[in-house]
Symmetry: C2
Subunit: 306 residues, 2 copies
């Protein structure tokens, strides 16, 4: 029976879903130190969202990432060690639901109504913003971006997808362009949804210039904080050049209490929970089962990065 080590920093319910799905020798250490000893003891498989150089033991054969993004993993080093790395892309359709929740809390003035509700205050707040008739740009048309596009398809919006390779997409959006055309897309968009991972070519991609081109529009970031120039965004939210922002990710997480974003009426903050879903843990366990079969030579890898 294979021994699989699971890093403790994972979504609630992950352990239960894995244990229910697969009858292997699970190890669930309490901390990094426990993960390191289990791997030093020869466990060949690690399921983790965090990385530590000490995890790369000679007996390690396969690392399954817990998220879609994997900027925290030294892929070249892992590849160099002959270790397989698979990520969890495709397990988070809930991010698309979350995207609409953040956006509508702003455009329908549901966030101010919730804040008013804490003092039992009934106060209709105009103006609302209609999504129908607007142009939504989805920057990052990977699995999550496509799921957002699918949900947006019945909403009467014009949908533009922006991605590294614009030739590959499902056809749900009205147009797809490359990252090099981001400026023009920002100029045309009313709503800019960021669904990109943190990577050398995405960091700071949405900067002062792109936000100025967006103008008095709406920004939703469910990708990674560093993709957006947070300071430039804060300045434009403060003076109203940018209408509002729905943010699940930040440059520093948890978002420090000192951040001015907390006090902005035109901002909705969720604590990096867009990927949380009871369905996620079951989908993730299925992914691990499929990749475990591949590791045993009984099938193809899913989401193999290296």
């Amino acid at each position: 029976v294979v021994r699989i080590v699971v890093h403790p920093d994972n979504t609630i319910g992950t352990r239960e879903a894995l244990e229910a799905r697969l009858d292997v020798d699970w190890v669930f250490p309490d901390d990094d130190m426990g993960v390191r000893s289990a791997l030093a003891d020869g466990a060949p498989v690690l399921v983790t969202a965090k990385w530590d150089a000490a995890f790369l033991q000679p007996t390690l054969e396969w690392v399954q990432g817990l998220g879609a993004g994997y900027e925290q993993f030294p892929i070249d080093t892992i590849r160099g060690a002959g270790v397989v790395f698979t990520n969890a892309t495709g397990s988070h359709p809930c991010v698309a639901e979350h995207t609409f929740g953040l956006l509508l809390a702003l455009t329908r003035n549901i966030a101010p109504a919730i804040r008013d509700g804490m003092s039992r205050t009934w106060s209709p707040i105009p103006p609302m913003v209609d999504l129908v008739g607007k142009t939504m740009a989805i920057v990052g048309l990977g699995f999550v971006g496509e799921e957002i596009a699918k949900r947006a398809s019945g909403w009467g919006m014009h949908l533009i997808g922006v991605k590294r390779d614009p030739a590959r997409h499902s056809g749900v959006v009205d147009e797809v362009v490359g990252l090099d055309q981001l400026d023009e897309v920002c100029r045309r968009a009313d709503i800019l949804v960021v669904a990109l991972p943190n990577a050398p070519d995405t960091r700071g991609l949405v900067g002062a210039r792109q936000l100025d081109l967006l103008g008095r529009g709406w920004l939703v970031n469910v990708g990674r904080g560093p993709v957006v120039d947070e300071q430039a965004m804060i300045e434009r939210l403060t003076d109203g050049r940018l209408a509002g922002a729905g943010l699940d990710v930040f440059v520093t997480e948890p978002l420090p209490p000192s951040s001015p974003l907390w006090a902005m009426p035109n901002v909705v903050i969720t604590p990096h929970t867009a990927g949380e879903s009871p369905g996620y843990t079951a989908r993730f366990a299925d992914l691990v089962a499929e990749n475990l079969a591949a590791w045993r030579g009984e099938g193809a890898w899913r989401n193999r990065v290296c």
Copy 2:
């Protein structure tokens, strides 16, 4: 030039949209008394959301309601006086956007995150609820219900429409049944969206029995407060038999500060703003222009109730 009286209780922007759209002799009184005098002076047209028996002057010919619902108007009396009444159904697609905003604020735990945000608290709250895979029942498949269904079509839910005449619908939902099958629908649904007007046959339609059949599901009411038994709903929200409720309408509006709904973590309240939209005022002005032509014998009435 025809004189048209507009009751002051209307959506912000209505006056501007009407004046921009139609060159008639507009009268915008400040109160009921002013409306009454203008009608007593012989104005033949009234645009209003409110009714007062004194509005029914012998010279009155046409009343244009400001909303989709018209339970506040004595239609038999109005008809008996030979006055035409038209409502504003079809002007509020924004209600569908609002419906999703209320629902996702609950299922994605965005409402608790907004409340936490007021004290700059970053606190991921499980569990989330996925809409994908769920069954959504839309009770009231009129214009608004169909707009909700259109938007829900890309979300991977099973959609059931419930309406008086199940033979007439657009085909967007997966099944349509009559109001007499509401109990069975509540039993099957995870999410119950109420988009019905207040009428003798809808009042209290969603009562203790229906809520018990829904079980630990989600209720969204963007129709009218009295359609749902508010006391039965409050009891089930308090003890968790009902998972949560997104409410834009109430039996008494404004919702009194004494209502226990204000303090419930699993409730999101908006102050009857689901129909608010900058697009609404323009759409409404178009409706008035079309019906003004009909009043002049130059076209067909739209939304004629009597």
